[in-house]
């Protein structure tokens, strides 16, 4: 597991703490109302904490990665693609197209500390063109055959060449950080419902050495996954699928 620099406490928890302090200063009026307010605040803080993403919540593991055929197929295509990435890393003359910039990022990024590697990868991937997936026939869970699905999981090179939408950004970050030596155990493509945007959104979740999760966002922010903006739906990596609505 990699070590990351600790971030600032969340705004929600800071706000709750400030509230607690000001309540303590003012809290001489009535013991009863103070107790009620403290109870409400405790409930509020515990709800805030519960909104955080955790890699270790028991009971969320759903199935192996192969249970989502479209995702499993993207992993297989990426495994094939890795041979080209390896050749390019070994010799510059073997690099074509976006592989040239990928080589540079992987080579120069290798000497950075893990938290700066996250920022580099996040910004490198976020530069790509946003393009919505079209509904297309993909391998599906339904009857073990094919179905028209909106989400297409790309490989790293497919994404760098063509761009994509948010789950494609998160997937590309996943593959890039794997190339930089991050453990699969510490990375998940996390699908959420964004309460502010009122849309489904995918981000890459990264586990820190203290077990806390950070999110690599498409807006270039890298932040703790403990704000109330998201409802976590499910997550995938090369080892499995986690259902966060269980």
């Amino acid at each position: 597991m990699r070590k990351f620099v600790a971030g600032k406490p969340s705004n929600i928890n800071m706000h709750a703490n400030q509230k607690l302090v000001s309540m303590r200063r003012r809290g001489r009026s009535s013991k009863v109302s103070g107790a009620v307010a403290s109870g409400l605040l405790a409930a509020f803080v515990s709800v805030s904490a519960a909104a955080g993403y955790s890699f270790d919540t028991p009971g969320h593991y759903l199935a192996g990665a192969s249970a989502l055929p479209a995702w499993a197929q993207a992993l297989e295509r990426h495994a094939t693609e890795r041979a080209a990435i390896r050749r390019c890393l070994d010799a510059e003359t073997a690099c074509q197209g976006k592989l040239k910039s990928l080589r540079l990022v992987l080579q120069k990024g290798a000497s950075l500390e893990p938290d700066r590697q996250l920022r580099l990868v996040n910004r490198y991937v976020n530069k790509r063109r946003y393009r919505r997936d079209r509904r297309a026939l993909s391998p599906s869970v339904v009857l073990g055959g094919e179905a028209k699905l909106r989400n297409h999981w790309p490989t790293l090179l497919e994404f760098l060449e063509r761009g994509g939408d948010c789950e494609d950004y998160a997937t590309a970050k996943y593959f890039l950080l794997r190339e930089l030596g991050f453990d699969a155990d510490d990375l998940r493509v996390l699908v959420t419902y964004d309460r502010w945007e009122r849309a489904y959104h995918a981000v890459l979740a990264v586990r820190r050495s203290d077990g806390g999760a950070w999110l690599l966002e498409s807006d270039n922010s890298v932040r703790r996954a403990n704000h109330g903006q998201y409802r976590f739906i499910y997550a995938v990596n090369e080892d499995g699928i986690w259902d966060h609505e269980r």
């Binding site: 199935a63 249970a67 540079l104 990022v105 950075l112 599906s140 699905l149 948010c166 270039n220």
Partner: protein, 75 residues
């Protein structure tokens, strides 16, 4: 005396086995339904990169500028 005991034990075992199989098939069905729901979720939110979220880091800026230059050359 032994025969009824054996028959009773066999019956109990087969009932338990049938219940387990039924439970397993129900959980497999539930898993398939959940996976089918998951794969239909249309993940689309668009968030544009914002300069304000970038921590100042000259080394990262330099790597990204060099990467941009390489991509511009190969286009």
């Amino acid at each position: 005396m032994r025969m009824p005991l054996i028959v009773m034990t066999s019956l109990a075992c087969s009932v338990a086995w049938a219940e387990t199989t039924e439970e397993e098939s129900k959980s497999i069905e539930a898993l398939q339904i959940r996976l089918a729901t998951i794969e239909q979720i249309d993940v689309t939110a668009e968030k544009s990169p914002a300069k304000s979220f970038e921590a100042a880091d000259a080394e990262i800026d330099a790597i990204l500028d060099e990467a941009d230059a390489l991509e511009a050359d190969s286009e």
